[in-house]
């Protein structure tokens, strides 16, 4: 075993933490806790970015760490918490697949994504290439979170978490996307959040519930 520098070990730990948080989100049924987990994931992502910035001396990464902190740790969780308070959605009742079953599928997905990431890691030249598998796993797990939830709110959190995974993937494969793209994505996520917030209120007005089952009976004439 070669001597892995302490910083890199720390980065790998953070990546593992990210994956763990994804699993926690997959298992969590309380919507409020889901948001806290999401904020935590953002924090870990921010720390990993800072660490990488310090290690590689890329100034762009500093900026994107600041962006991550501002958008994903402060702004979005605040918006989500406020929305939860206003809408009174605290629980996501009975997920479509029970929690242990979901976890098992999650494990399979992680195996799949690590297998997938192996050839990519071989090609990448960055110090963090081992983390690419984790990034793909985070994306797919977030997808799974979206599939298994009934409440629109939890689906939105899943969607945002997917964006975390994408961000982490880009960072570990090529030390981050160009600044313009990153800014654009951050802005997009914020705007999407606002639009979805409006939708939540509309859905509740119309159907007295944020349960997506209610929408499904209104799929239009076939």
């Amino acid at each position: 075993m070669g001597q892995t520098p302490f910083v890199m070990q720390l980065l790998d730990t953070l990546a593992a933490l990210l994956l763990l948080l994804s699993f926690a989100m997959l298992a969590q049924r309380r919507v409020a806790t889901l948001v806290e987990l999401f904020a935590l994931q953002g924090g870990v992502l921010c720390a990993a970015t800072l660490l990488l910035a310090w290690r590689t001396g890329e100034e762009n990464l500093l900026l994107s760490a600041a962006l991550t902190f501002g958008v994903k740790v402060l702004a979005l969780p605040w918006l989500l918490r406020r929305m939860i308070r206003r809408l009174g959605v605290y629980w996501d009742t009975d997920p479509l697949l029970n929690i242990p079953g979901t976890m098992l599928v999650g494990v399979l997905i992680v195996v799949f994504s690590f297998g997938l990431a192996q050839p990519i890691s071989a090609l990448a030249s960055t110090a963090t290439r081992s983390a690419i598998g984790i990034a793909v796993a985070v994306i797919l797990l977030a997808f799974l979170t979206m599939i298994t939830r009934r409440k629109a709110m939890s689906q939105v959190v899943g969607f945002l978490s997917m964006e975390n995974g994408l961000f982490f993937g880009a960072m570990s494969a090529t030390y981050g996307m160009p600044m313009v793209v990153e800014l654009g994505v951050a802005l997009d996520v914020l705007v999407a959040m606002l639009v979805l917030g409006v939708f939540f209120f509309q859905i509740r007005e119309q159907f007295d519930s944020l349960d997506l089952d209610r929408l499904e009976s209104h799929q239009g004439g076939r």
Partner: protein
């Protein structure tokens, strides 16, 4: 190329933009009929005349052509290429001259009604005109397709201008659907034509070398695409639906001009862009064309709606055009350049002719429709007394389309028959025996066209009115008459001056490398396309003889017959007074044709029993191709869609699952 307003291409471009601008002005006050009718449509007509004149001058000064222009419009690194050559100049003359008459007519025709407001209609109309002009100028696949689709969409909105009527919406949708299928075929055709260079300018296509198989594929795709737009059987079904649905000036524009744009596209592909295709592929359009011609005219004979009748007659004429086109390809492949040029000239000439005469007839039906509110031949009759202007001007169109000398329809059919008569020299076995039979078919179609026109004109304008309300019919307004007269004048001029027009069209044929006619010999009034020693036709002498004969007869009768003229009701065999119902009807007149061609029609007849006190007879005539081809096709599409609907669960989780599965699958495939 620098932009200088002296060059014909720049002038034409400016005029096309003027058309768009005229349309845009109409949008300023869409409800105002005064602006649209009194100012904008006549202005559009002036633009049309100007375009025709510039293009005609350009076409006769061939040393300047082809002229090119690159406009930095569109996607980055994809400028619009424009090009003016002899072929596009010819069709620009057609577009400008025919649309001038139609615009003049339209100035008085459009009224404020339930449908699209006149300003919006004016915008769609002029956009339609300009897009057709851009199709003619386009020199790369992108700008061609953009202009082509603009043409399809603007004409769709024009067809559905009376969109409150369900039948019209249905006709419009059918048109839109089939137009898009055709556009798809054209797009694929261009995709084949670039031949691996991945550059989509027409220059790149001219330079591309295709294998025989790919050349055939490109040709068949072009035939499908442009045949759809032109109304070649069996892709014609939209035509008899859309033409009656549209307002008459729009029908005139679609039938008279837009179908010719499709012919232009086919000529452009077959004679300019596509190389390496064996000549005998021309037999495909010859066969389809002859079949379309016969099919169209037989169905026209059975129609009782005057605009549907004209629509089917358009199918016939498109068939004749495709026949000539195929014939030119066969002759070119057989190294018979002179006859190939003759066939191509016949196509171009017939396209010009049909643009004038069919527009004239459609506008005539428009006037009739306006003043009587009837499209059904069974409720018209005797209108020559009420609407003499429309009746006499329409007569010119009817005679022309029936192919009677000295009018223009005769000239092009004569040229086509001359080309057919050389078909026995083609060096392919069997083809040399079968092709001359096509001449017989063309003659049969010509005779039937005469029959159909007798029916159309006789039932609408002659005899006695079949309905009492026809007594209130009034003649067309001044601008409408001017439009009709312009087109009728075109028919007469094209009929009397073939000896000056044929050499000009011959220049188109030689610029496309098809072949050249022998140098012109003989005086201006004598048409002898294959040299002074061969067959010839002198329309002014023919016309002079006919007119002199008529005048002489009138004079002789006047001189010889000295007693006063006695007017009395016609003898009715003692069966009481003759009413409007004692005349031959449209159904009755078409009956012999229906009888001969019974297997072609899907007919449903309701015959009264002998004991019926109020006997009624009715017959519905359906299109067999519609039932045999389109209905099963629609059924398959429906069933396929129903099968796909299994996946449409309406659950967001399921859709997300689909997305995840697709993502995983793609990732697994890529890695």
């Amino acid at each position: 190329m620098t932009v200088a307003l002296g060059a014909p291409l720049d002038q034409i471009l400016a005029l096309l933009c003027a058309w768009v601008a005229i349309g845009a002005v109409g949008l300023v006050r869409p409800a105002s009929l005064k602006i649209a009718g009194r100012t904008l449509f006549p202005l559009g007509a002036v633009c049309g005349v100007a375009i025709a004149a510039i293009a005609a001058i350009a076409a006769t000064h061939l040393s300047q052509l082809p002229e090119r222009l690159e406009l930095p419009i569109g996607l980055p690194a994809l400028p619009m290429h424009l090009r003016l050559d002899a072929l596009s100049a010819t069709f620009l003359v057609l577009l400008g001259a025919a649309s001038a008459g139609i615009s003049l007519f339209g100035a008085g025709y459009f009224r404020v009604g339930q449908g699209t407001p006149p300003g919006l209609l004016c915008f769609e109309y002029h956009l339609f005109l300009a897009s057709m002009g851009f199709v003619l100028l386009a020199d790369d696949a992108y700008s061609f397709m953009v202009a082509w689709e603009t043409m399809a969409l603007s004409s769709y909105f024009l067809v559905t201008s009376q969109h409150r009527i369900g039948e019209i919406r249905r006709a419009g949708f059918l048109y839109l659907l089939i137009a898009h299928l055709g556009a798809l075929a054209i797009l694929l055709c261009f995709g084949v034509l670039q031949g691996g260079s991945w550059r989509f300018t027409f220059d790149a296509m001219r330079a591309a070398h295709l294998s025989a198989g790919w050349a055939a594929a490109a040709f068949l795709l072009a035939l499908a695409g442009f045949g759809t737009k032109a109304g070649l059987v069996p892709l014609h079904v939209w035509l008899p639906e859309a033409h009656p649905a549209a307002p008459s000036p729009v029908s005139a524009l679609m039938s008279g001009v837009m179908l010719k744009i499709a012919i232009y596209g086919m000529l452009r592909v077959a004679f300019d862009l596509l190389h390496g295709l064996p000549g005998w592929w021309g037999l495909v359009p010859v066969g389809l064309g002859l079949f379309s011609a016969l099919y169209g005219i037989v169905f026209a004979a059975a129609q009782t709606d005057m605009k549907r009748l004209l629509a089917y007659s358009s199918i016939e004429n498109v068939g004749i055009l495709f026949t000539g086109l195929g014939l030119a390809m066969v002759f070119r492949g057989a190294a018979m350049p002179t006859v190939a040029a003759l066939a191509l000239i016949a196509v171009l000439y017939h396209a010009l002719n049909h643009a004038f005469m069919k527009s004239l007839l459609f506008l005539g039906t428009g006037s009739v429709l306006h003043s009587t509110g009837e499209r059904n031949l069974g409720r018209l009759g005797g209108l020559i007394h009420r609407m003499p202007w429309v009746a006499w001007l329409t007569l010119v169109g009817a005679l022309a389309i029936a192919g009677l000398p000295p009018l223009n329809g005769f000239v092009s059919e004569w040229l086509l028959l001359q080309a057919f008569l050389h078909a026995n020299e083609v060096p392919y076995p069997f083809v040399d025996m079968l092709l001359p039979l096509g001449a017989g078919m063309v003659a049969l179609v010509g005779a039937l066209a005469g029959y159909v026109m007798v029916k159309f004109y006789g039932v609408v304008f002659l005899g006695q009115p079949r309905e009492p309300s026809l007594a209130r019919a009034h003649d067309a307004g001044r601008t409408e008459r001017a439009g009709l007269a312009w087109l009728a004048l075109g028919c007469v001029a094209l009929g009397l001056l073939p000896a000056t027009i044929v050499p000009a069209l011959g220049a188109v044929a030689s610029s496309l490398g098809v072949g050249a006619l022998p140098a012109r010999g003989g005086p201006w009034w004598m048409l002898a396309p294959l040299g002074p020693q061969s067959i010839s036709y002198a329309p002014p002498i023919f016309a002079g003889t006919v007119i002199a004969g008529v005048l002489l007869t009138v004079l002789v009768v006047r001189l010889a017959y000295r007693r006063p003229v006695r007017r009395a009701p016609p003898w009715a065999c003692g069966a009481g007074p003759l009413t409007g119902r004692t005349q031959d009807t449209a159904e009755g007149f078409g009956q012999p044709i229906r009888h001969f061609f019974t297997p072609w029609f899907a007919m449903r007849r309701h015959l009264p029993t002998p004991f019926d006190t109020a006997p009624r007879y009715s017959v519905e005539i359906g299109d067999r191709i519609w039932r045999a081809l389109y209905e099963p096709l629609a059924g398959w599409v429906d069933r396929g869609a129903a099968a796909c609907a299994v996946f449409q669960r309406g659950r967001i989780s399921t859709y997300l699952l689909y997305a995840l599965a697709t993502l995983c699958l793609l990732l697994a495939l890529v890695i």
